[in-house]
Amino acid sequence: MATKDKGQSFDGMTRRAFLKTAAVAGAVVGCGMDVAFDAAKASAYESDAINYRVTNTTCPYCSASCGQRVVTALTGANTGKVVDIYGDFESPMNSGGLCAKGAGSLQLVNNSRRLGAFSGTHPADSAFAYDPAYDATGVAYKRTGNGPWGKMSLDTAMSEIATGLVTARGALPATNQSKGVAFFGSSHMNNEPNYVYRKMIANFGTSNVEHQARI
C-alpha cells in the first residue's frame, strides 16, 4: 500500500543509508539509542557559528520529551532552513538518543507533502504548493462540499470563518454557554497557544472544547 511520490525529498539521507540505519535501530530500539548519531557532524555544526546556528527543542512525538538540537543554515542555498536535527546530549530525558520517529523528524520539517511549504509540484494536490502571491496575507485552503481545494488569502478566510462561527453559535444565552461550535484543541500545540486557544473559546462563549487526552 505504500506509495512513493516522485517529488519526495530524501532530506539529506539516501534511502539505502536510511534502511541500513533503520535495520540497526530496529534491533536496539528498546534501548532508546539513536545509532545514527554522528558526533563528528554535530561537532562540526556546533563549532561553526558562521555557517550554522544550533538551537534546542524537544521532540514532537511522544511525551518522553527527548532533547533535540536543531541546525539552521546561515549561509548558502539553504540559508534560514533547518538542515539537521539530532539528539541533545545535555538533556537528562534522553542523554542524546532518539528513536525511529524522533531521529526522522527532520523529514517532518522538510516534508514536500507539507501544506504551502514548497514551490513546484505538490505530491498530493497542486493547490498545496507554496505560492509567493500569498506571502503578504498568508494562505488558506477552502473547498465547498466535496469539491476541489482552492486557495485564498488567509485574511479573507479568517473573516469568513469568524462569520461562520458566529452564525453557528447564534445569540448567546445568558449563561454564555453555546454548543453551536465544537472546538478541538491539541496536544500537538505548545502551552502558550493552548492557553490562548482556551481563552479565545471562553471569550467566544463556550466550554465546548475537547482534545486528545479524552481518547
Binding site: 500500500m1 505504500a2 512513493k4 519526495q8 530500539v29 534546542n56 524537544t58 512525538y61 511522544c62 511525551s63 520529551s65 541546525v71 539552521t72 532552513k81 533547518v82 545535555e90 530525558m93 520517529k101 523529514q107 517532518l108 520539517v109 516534508n111 507533502r113 501544506l115 511549504a117 514548497f118 498545496f128 477552502k142 473547498r143 465547498t144 462540499g145 466535496n146 469568513e160 469568524a162 462561527l165 458566529v166 449563561t175 454564555n176 454548543k179 453551536g180 461550535v181 472546538f183 484543541g185 491539541s186 496536544s187 505548545n190 502551552n191 502558550e192 493552548n194 490562548v196 486557544y197 471562553a202 471569550n203 467566544f204 466550554s207 465546548n208 482534545h211 486528545q212 487526552a213 481518547i215
Partner: protein, 954 residues
C-alpha cells in the same frame, strides 16, 4: 506521573502494565535499563507480548479488561501473607513489622518536616496521629453502605451544634492505634473485606493467568516496597534515599492499555490503592506513572482543553454560582470571612458570615494572595485576564467598587460544561445544535472509535475548520453539499517557540530554529488572527457590552490579546519584539551552562514569552495558571515571596539563573537521585516526585499533599482558618465511580458500588475499584457475576454506546474474538506526522493483524494473508442500512508460531494498529471503523482495548 522519567532509574522493580514503552516511549527504556543495571527486574503485564515484554525478566499475559481483578487479587494475597493466614507463605518478619509500622504510623508532630518551626505540625498536634498522605490510614465511617469520612472539626473534636459543614475538616484523618485490630471501618479492614472475593483461583480464572504468576507479582511487591527497604519508617534517615544500599521501591508504568477501558478510571485507581498500601507513593523510584502519548498532552490537559474544565484543573463555573461561591470551593481558604480579621477595605468580618467578601481580598506584591490561596488567587487573576478588568479591579479602593467589577466580569464566564469528545460528533450528526467544528492539530477521522458515526457528524456540519501540517483525513472527509471546509497550514515544531510540559510535569522551552516554511504559519499567529477576526465578526460583543456597563474602556482584541501579547494583526508577526533570556547551546559536556539574559527576541519567541509570563508568574503577582506558579519569576534569585519563589531547585543546587525556568538547563544530577531540579520546571513548585516527605536528598520539603502542611503552601500562614477539606470535597465528591447492580452475591459482603443515599437511579462512588467485564465480552458468565461499568446502574447503559451487539455476550459463532488496538514505534497516533514521512512508511508500510496460531488454523488463515475484520460497528447484517464508513478492506496477518506463551497474542485475542487511514504516503484500513464507542462512565474514554470481532480470510 507522580514521579518523572529519569526517576524510573531509581526503582528496584519496574512493573510495566498496559504500556509498551519500547515502541511508544523508547527513551523510557533507557531509564528502565539504568535501573536494571543496578539489579532491578523488569516485569510486564499485558494481553500482548509486546516488544517491551520481549525484553522483560518476566512477562505475564492477562485477558483484556481484567486488570482490577488481578490487582485486587495481589492485594488480597499481600494482606494474607502479612497477616500470616496465607497457605502460600508468610512475608518475612521484618517486612511484616515495617508494613504495619507504616500503616500505623503515629504522628506526634515530629514526622512533619515542615522546615519551618513556626508552622510545625499545627494540626498534627490537635488531630493526634494524623496521616501523612495515605488514604489507607483514614478511618472511614460507614453509614448504611456508604463510606464516609469521619467528621471532626479543625481541632479534632466532634462537631457541636451550630457549626456548619463549612467549618468541618471531615476528610482528614482520624487515627487508630492499629489498623488491624480496631474498628472494622478502618480503610485497611475495609480494603481487606473488599478484596476478599479475589482469591487466587478466582483471579486466575478472570484474568487468564496462572496462580503462580499472581504469587510472583505478590513477591515483587513485598520485596520492592517500603516494607523491605532500608530504614523504612517515614522520616527516618535514608528512608527515601534511592542511593542508599538496600533501598527498595517498585514503580508502576501504564498507558492506554490501562485507560482505554470502560473501567479506565478505576484501573488507575486500583494502582493508586496498591502503591499507597505498600508505601510506594512519594518515594523515589515509585509512584504510578502514566506514559502520556503526545509531547504536550500534559500541557494541553493542564490548560483545560476539556469540556468540564477551565485551565489548571478548576471546573467550569456553574450556572447560578456567584464569584464568591465558586472561589470558596477552590483550594485555599474558606472565603466566608474569618473571626477577627479585617478585609482590605477595613471591615472586620465575623465568623462564617456568608458574604464571601474575602474572595475579593487580594493585593499586588509579595503578599498579593490576600485572604486567598494559590488556586483561588489564580482564578481571580484568570477571570480578569481572560475577560478584562484586572488593572481596574486591583485599583479599586473600596470593597464595593471591586465587587462590582469582579462580579460583572465573572458573569462573562461560560457557565456549565460542554459536550464530551464522542458526544460532540453525535451532536454534529443530529444537526440541531452543533453546526460547526474547529479541529486544531487533531485528526478525529482516524482517532475516534466507530468512524461511521464520527463521519456522519463531520459530513453534516455547515463549517469545518482544520489546522494541520498536512491534508489529513479529517480535512478530506466526505462533506455534504454546500458545506464549507477550510484548511490552515501549520508550522513544524522547530518553527515556533514556546514551552511544552512532558509526562513528568516538567516544562521545557522550545526555541524557534527557523521561520515557518513557505506559506505555513505558527499556531499562535493563526490563533491571534482568528481572535481578531472573531472580534470583527461580533463574537465578543457581549464582552464589549459588559465593559461599557462597568465603565471599562478599550477594544476586546487590543485589551485581551494585542496589548498583553505585543502583536497587532495586520503587521508582520516578527515585528513583535522584546527582551528575553536565551540558553546557549553547549558544545561539550564539561562546559558551564550559560545564558544570554537580555537577548532581543522577535515574533514567536517574544509572543510566547509574553503569554508564558501571564500564565506562570506567581499567583500573588498576577499569574493565571496556579499549578505553574513561579515557572516564571521576575525575582529570579529571590529567596523571599513564598515557597514558590524560593530557590526551589533543591538544597544542593545554585539559585535559578533565569526568570523563565522552562529555559533553565542546569542538568546537575543533584544527590545522585536523577531529580534534575535545575532542568526546566516541574509543577507543582518544582516538585519532581509528588507526595514525598522531603526525605529525598536535595529535595526541599514537600508541602503538597501532606494534609497539615499543604495549608502552608496553598493558603497564607493563618493556618487556623484553613479548610482544605472543602477543596477536597468539592473536587472529589465521590461521584467518580459509576454504579452497577451486581447480579450475583459474590461481593455482597463488601459492596464496592453503593446506591445514592435516598435512592434514585444515580449512584455514588465506592472507595475501592472492583472488577467488571468490558462492555463487549466473550465471557457471559463473568459479566453476569461481576457486572459492567454502566452509568446509573441497570436502568441505563453506558452513557455512550449506540452500536450494541444484541445481548452483548455473543456466542462463539457471532463475534468470538476480542479485538485490542496497538501502536508501533514507526508511526504516531492518527498518522499525519509519520505516514507522510517516507522512512517511517518504508519501515511499516501497512496495517496488520496479530493472531494466535490456533485461531489462524481455525479460520484458515496463513501468515501474510489479508484478513477481513468485522465488528458490530462495521457489520451490515447487524445494522441493516447503518451508514458504514469502513475504509480499506483488510489487515495483513501476522500469525504467531511456536509455544503459546511466546506468541504475541493469546488464542481468542487479535491485535491491530490504528495509525492508518486513507491519506498520506501510506494508506491502510482504519481500525476505528471497528472499535467500540463505549466510554468509561467517568471519563468517557473509549474502550479501544477490548471489543468483540470476527475475522475471515479475504
Amino acid at each position: 506521573m507522580t514521579n518523572h522519567w529519569s526517576d524510573i532509574g531509581n526503582a528496584s522493580n519496574v512493573l510495566v502494565w498496559g504500556a509498551n514503552p519500547s515502541e511508544n516511549h523508547p527513551a523510557c527504556m533507557a531509564h528502565i535499563n539504568r535501573a536494571r543495571a543496578k539489579g532491578a527486574k523488569l516485569v510486564v503485564v499485558d494481553p500482548r507480548k509486546t516488544r517491551t515484554a520481549l525484553q522483560a525478566d518476566q512477562y505475564i499475559r492477562i485477558r483484556p479488561g481484567s486488570d482490577i481483578a488481578l490487582i485486587n487479587g495481589i492485594v488480597r494475597e499481600i494482606i494474607s501473607q502479612m497477616e500470616g493466614t496465607s497457605p502460600n507463605g508468610t512475608a518475612p518478619a521484618g517486612a511484616v513489622t515495617k508494613f504495619y509500622d507504616f500503616l500505623n504510623q503515629t504522628g506526634n508532630g515530629s514526622f512533619y518536616t515542615d522546615g519551618d518551626a513556626t508552622h510545625a505540625s499545627s494540626l498534627s498536634a490537635t488531630v493526634a496521629g494524623s496521616s501523612k498522605y495515605s488514604d489507607a490510614r483514614f478511618l472511614v465511617n460507614a453509614t448504611g453502605t456508604d463510606y464516609q469520612r469521619a467528621t471532626v472539626t479543625n481541632t479534632g473534636a466532634t462537631p457541636v451544634g451550630g457549626e456548619t459543614a463549612n467549618q468541618l475538616i471531615s476528610n482528614f484523618p482520624v487515627k487508630v492505634a492499629d489498623c488491624r485490630l480496631s474498628d472494622v471501618n478502618t480503610v485497611y479492614n475495609r480494603l481487606k473485606a473488599h478484596v476478599d472475593p479475589y482469591t487466587l483461583s478466582v483471579v486466575a480464572d478472570v484474568a487468564g493467568c496462572t496462580m503462580t504468576e499472581i504469587l510472583d507479582l505478590v513477591k515483587y511487591f513485598i520485596d520492592n516496597s517500603r516494607c523491605s527497604s532500608v530504614a523504612a519508617a517515614v522520616g527516618a534517615a535514608g528512608s527515601q534515599d534511592p542511593t542508599a544500599a538496600g533501598y527498595k521501591c517498585l514503580t508502576m508504568l501504564y498507558a492506554m492499555g490501562i485507560t482505554q477501558h470502560t473501567t479506565g478510571s478505576q484501573n488507575v485507581k486500583s494502582f493508586a490503592v496498591i502503591q499507597t498500601l505498600m508505601g510506594n507513593m512519594g518515594r523515589a523510584g515509585g509512584g504510578i506513572n502514566a506514559l502520556r502519548g503526545i509531547h504536550n498532552v500534559q500541557g494541553s490537559t493542564d490548560l483545560g482543553l476539556l469540556n468540564g474544565n477551565i485551565p489548571a484543573y478548576s471546573s467550569n463555573p456553574g450556572v447560578g454560582s456567584t464569584f464568591g461561591d465558586y472561589m470558596d470551593g477552590l483550594w485555599g481558604n474558606p472565603l466566608t470571612g474569618t473571626t477577627g480579621t479585617t478585609d482590605f477595605s477595613g471591615t472586620v468580618r465575623s465568623l462564617m458570615d456568608g458574604s464571601h467578601d474575602d474572595a475579593y481580598n487580594v493585593s499586588t506584591g509579595a503578599a498579593g494572595l490576600g485572604a486567598t490561596g494559590l488556586q483561588q488567587r489564580g482564578f481571580f487573576n484568570m477571570t480578569l485576564k481572560f475577560f478584562g478588568g484586572y488593572a481596574e479591579a486591583l485599583a479599586a479602593t473600596t470593597l464595593s467598587a471591586r465587587k462590582t467589577i469582579v462580579d460583572g466580569i465573572y458573569d462573562l464566564w461560560p457557565k456549565g460544561n460542554g459536550d464530551s469528545h464522542m458526544t460532540m460528533f453525535r451532536a454534529m450528526a443530529a444537526g440541531t445544535v452543533t453546526k460547526a467544528a474547529v479541529v486544531w492539530g487533531q485528526n478525529p477521522a482516524i482517532t475516534e472509535p466507530n468512524q461511521g458515526k464520527v463521519r456522519q457528524g463531520l459530513k453534516n456540519i455547515d463549517l469545518l475548520v482544520c489546522t494541520d501540517m498536512f491534508e489529513n483525513e479529517t480535512a478530506a472527509c466526505d462533506r455534504k453539499d454546500g458545506s464549507v471546509t477550510y484548511l490552515l497550514p501549520a508550522s513544524a515544531h522547530v518553527e515556533h517557540a514556546g514551552s511544552s510540559t512532558n509526562s513528568g510535569r516538567t516544562l521545557q522551552w522550545r526555541y524557534r530554529a527557523a521561520a515557518p516554511l513557505g506559506n505555513s504559519k505558527d499556531d499562535m499567529e493563526l490563533l491571534l488572527r482568528l481572535a481578531k477576526a472573531l472580534e470583527t465578526a461580533g463574537a465578543f460583543s457581549h464582552i464589549q457590552a459588559k465593559w461599557t456597563a462597568l465603565g471599562l474602556s478599550g477594544g476586546v482584541y487590543d485589551t485581551l490579546y494585542g496589548t498583553p501579547y505585543d502583536w497587532t494583526p495586520g503587521t508582520a508577526y516578527d515585528l513583535a519584539s522584546g527582551t528575553a533570556e536565551l540558553a546557549h547551546v553547549r558544545a561539550n559536556v564539561t562546559d558551564p551552562v550559560t545564558y544570554d539574559l537580555s537577548a532581543t527576541v522577535t515574533g514567536s519567541e517574544w509572543v510566547t514569552e509574553k503569554v508564558f509570563r501571564e500564565m506562570n508568574s506567581p499567583s500573588a503577582a498576577g499569574g493565571t495558571i496556579w499549578i505553574y506558579t513561579g515557572a516564571y519569576n521576575a525575582e529570579a534569585t529571590s529567596a523571599t515571596g513564598g515557597p514558590w519563589a524560593t530557590a526551589n531547585k533543591g538544597s544542593l543546587q545554585a539559585s535559578w539563573a533565569v526568570k523563565n525556568r522552562a529555559k533553565s538547563r542546569d542538568n546537575t544530577n543533584d544527590g545522585g537521585t536523577f531529580a534534575y531540579h535545575g532542568w526546566g520546571y516541574a509543577w507543582l513548585v518544582n516538585r519532581r516526585v509528588f507526595y514525598n516527605n522531603a526525605d529525598i536528598p536535595a529535595e526541599v520539603t514537600d508541602y503538597f499533599m501532606e494534609p497539615d502542611s499543604c495549608s502552608h503552601l496553598f493558603v497564607p500562614a493563618n493556618a487556623a482558618t484553613l479548610n482544605y477539606s472543602r477543596w477536597y470535597r468539592h473536587n472529589h465528591p465521590l461521584v467518580d465511580k459509576p454504579d452497577v447492580v451486581l447480579a450475583a452475591t459474590l461481593n455482597a459482603g463488601s459492596p464496592h458500588f453503593v446506591p445514592k443515599p435516598g435512592g434514585g437511579t444515580i449512584t455514588y462512588a465506592g472507595r475501592f475499584p472492583a472488577h467488571v467485564e468490558p462492555y463487549e465480552t466473550p465471557k457471559a458468565a463473568l459479566a453476569a457475576a461481576w457486572g459492567r461499568n454502566t452509568k446509573g446502574g441497570a436502568a441505563f447503559e453506558l452513557s455512550f454506546v449506540d452500536t450494541q451487539i444484541a445481548g452483548r455476550d455473543v456466542p462463539a459463532s457471532g463475534y468470538p474474538l476480542t479485538l485490542t488496538t496497538i501502536r508501533c514505534v514507526e508511526h504516531f497516533q492518527g498518522g499525519p506526522i509519520t505516514r507522510n514521512n517516507w522512512s517511517n512508511v518504508e519501515l511499516e508500510p501497512e496495517p496488520w493483524i496479530e493472531l494466535n496460531s490456533a485461531d489462524a488454523r481455525s479460520f484458515g488463515i496463513s501468515d501474510g494473508d489479508m484478513v477481513r475484520v468485522r465488528t458490530a460497528r462495521s457489520d451490515a447484517t447487524v445494522w441493516g442500512d447503518y451508514p458504514r464508513a469502513a475504509y480499506g478492506d483488510g489487515f495483513r496477518a501476522r500469525v504467531g508460531s511456536g509455544l503459546q506463551g511466546n506468541q504475541r497474542v493469546a488464542a481468542g485475542v487479535v491485535a491491530i494498529p490504528w495509525h492508518w487511514g486513507e491519506k498520506g504516503l501510506s494508506t491502510g484500513s482504519r481500525a476505528n471503523d471497528l472499535c467500540i464507542d463505549a466510554g468509561d462512565a467517568n471519563s468517557m474514554i473509549p474502550e479501544s482495548k477490548a471489543c468483540l470481532c470476527k475475522i475471515e480470510k479475504m
